[in-house]
Subunit: 351 residues, 2 copies
């Protein structure tokens, strides 16, 4: 498997299957792990980082779950390829901006990625399609078990798994879902919902990760605290809250369709028409219109456009994907043209 | 022929034929005439208006050019039908807001309409498709000749034809063209052009007649003064200036296609996409988008949409047309829905 093979496949988490996949695009788990006796990545010197790399690489590749994984050293990658992996949610910005001995291992269906020498020695991630925290947890927990048999983790009886940043100490677990909440946004209830979420220790980010604003009504909701609660309780808590958010979103959709059906229908079809007609489109506008079309599909107002295609488009309209598809560097204006071409082609071939 | 027959036909002036019909939708002539020995319409009493009516009706209907004409007494018409005729440019607002003894005669192809007891006893109008002042003049002049043999016009050797308003005295001729000038608007040259036009005695109005703003880049340009110049000179003057305006518009189109081709292409196709997708659309937005699509057709960026259809849509998306097509009264919100339906249906059946 090569990195470029990813360009022509759809990651498992984008397949629009699994529970509530009309609202929850994907469920994600991440574990932070460090090796005993080696300084945390930020404090380790080159030699120590290399030592970590030398220990974890075989451990990862020999694990059953990472059979046939793609293993990439970050320093060997071009800037476009680094950005490409970031756009696919397979690496963090932190990993690709660093230097030596950083690496990522990616399972063939992109469910699992393991970052090496990120903020922690190991960052293990599992992503599943739909509202499916349980499967994501099972995958990540199995891999963690496998790896723990080969690697000596830094662990304290008092604190649990030690990590470079205190917010990750304890279970080292961050669980999140990517939810599409257009009706809560349209009915202006989203602020209230996000406020309530933040008061119970959860946080919401945009589709494009940490530090990005929510765009196109996509929200990544995750737990903040990893210390003091067993993993399954963290997951149950998040799951319970997300179920409530889903209920709110469904009520808001019902409200919209009962009170503003024609306006909504017009808005949705205009969005679809624009996506099929535009020859220049920014990423921001495209995400907003794709959100609108997605809502149209969910509400049965648009037929024949599948959710997988819409999910896929959210990823492939990003800069590095467009440039890899075109096999050359494109400036922002050229990307706006290529993005529009791609969307038109994908959506009109479905007619 | 009945009034409702008009609903299902396209007036001659909308057929998008004739010289420069990619820029000049139509050419129009109007003559103001009054009968000798009868007060002007505003000062005449009921009996005098009836006398005018009784004299002109047979004169009109017996003329060769008005064979098989539709002859309508305004007082017999519903409000919707009055508005309908206004929307087809066959009557003036002045005519339909008045009361007794007002009428209009309309030739079967809608080239000629003759209003009775408007501001003047007779207002004769001829409209041709494209930049075709000569044909419009020949038609109107022939009819005027025919009528003058049966009717005794108020005429002064010093002033020419007398009329109720001094601006119409003299030849009584107003000549105008409806021009589509999107490139002059986009390149922000239109103000300069309209200013220059006004300085040489011409005036510009919107598509929807006197007192309306230019919308969707359509401008009705006409002479202001009717006294002191022979008819053919008025027409030649207007024709010469319109030819210059056409040249300016063509240069502006060339500028746009050489400097902003991609932006223009995107704008045009988005407009087309929106028209084919919207389920609610105001008249203002529809006219703007139709203007954009028309430009796209002219520039060869859109194929398979004919100019006649686009012209026709400008007329049929108006309130009375929509209500007659639906055969019931519609409020503004209902019209926005019906308008969108009609446009979608007409444009998608062309794909």
């Amino acid at each position: 498997m090569k990195l470029d093979d990813l360009l022509h496949q759809t990651g498992e988490w984008l397949k629009c299957v699994g529970p509530n996949s009309e609202i929850v695009i994907s469920s994600r788990m991440r574990l932070a792990r460090n090796l005993k006796g080696v300084p945390f990545a930020h404090w380790s010197n080159k030699k120590e980082s290399e030592k970590v790399f030398a220990m974890v690489k075989p451990a990862i590749l020999e694990s059953g779950l990472m059979k046939d994984a793609l293993f990439l050293k970050i320093q060997d990658l071009s800037n476009i390829d680094k950005q490409f992996l970031l756009e696919r949610h397979l690496v963090s910005r932190e990993l690709i901006t660093g230097s030596d001995s950083k690496a990522v291992a990616i399972s063939p269906n992109e469910v699992i990625s393991v970052m090496v020498n990120e903020e922690d020695h190991l960052r293990i991630q599992a992503m599943e399609s739909g509202f499916n925290l349980k499967d994501a947890w099972e995958v990540i927990n199995s891999l963690d078990d496998e790896l723990s048999q080969k690697l000596d983790y830094a662990f304290s009886v008092d604190f649990g798994y030690l990590s470079a940043c205190p917010t990750n100490t304890g279970t080292g677990l961050r669980a999140s879902v990517m939810a599409h909440l257009p009706a809560l946004v349209l009915t202006k209830q989203i602020e209230k919902v996000l406020h309530a979420i933040s008061k119970i220790g959860l946080t919401a980010r945009g589709f494009y990760g940490e530090g990005t604003e929510a765009s196109g009504n996509f929200f990544q909701i995750s737990n903040q605290v990893t210390l003091g609660l067993p993993e399954l309780e963290v997951i149950d808590n998040l799951g319970r809250i997300i179920r409530q958010v889903i209920e709110h979103e469904l009520s808001a959709r019902q409200l919209l369709t009962s009170q503003q059906k024609e306006l909504l229908h017009d808005r949705i079809w205009r969005s679809y028409g624009t996506l099929k007609s535009a020859y220049i489109i920014t990423s921001k506008e495209a995400v907003e219109l794709l959100s609108s079309v997605r809502l149209g599909v969910d509400l049965g107002m648009i037929n024949g456009v599948d959710g997988k295609l819409l999910n896929e488009l959210l990823v492939v309209i990003q800069p590095a994907h467009l440039q890899k598809l075109e096999a050359k560097a494109l400036d922002a204006a050229q990307r706006d043209v290529k993005r529009a071409d791609l969307i038109r082609q994908k959506l009109t071939s479905k007619d």
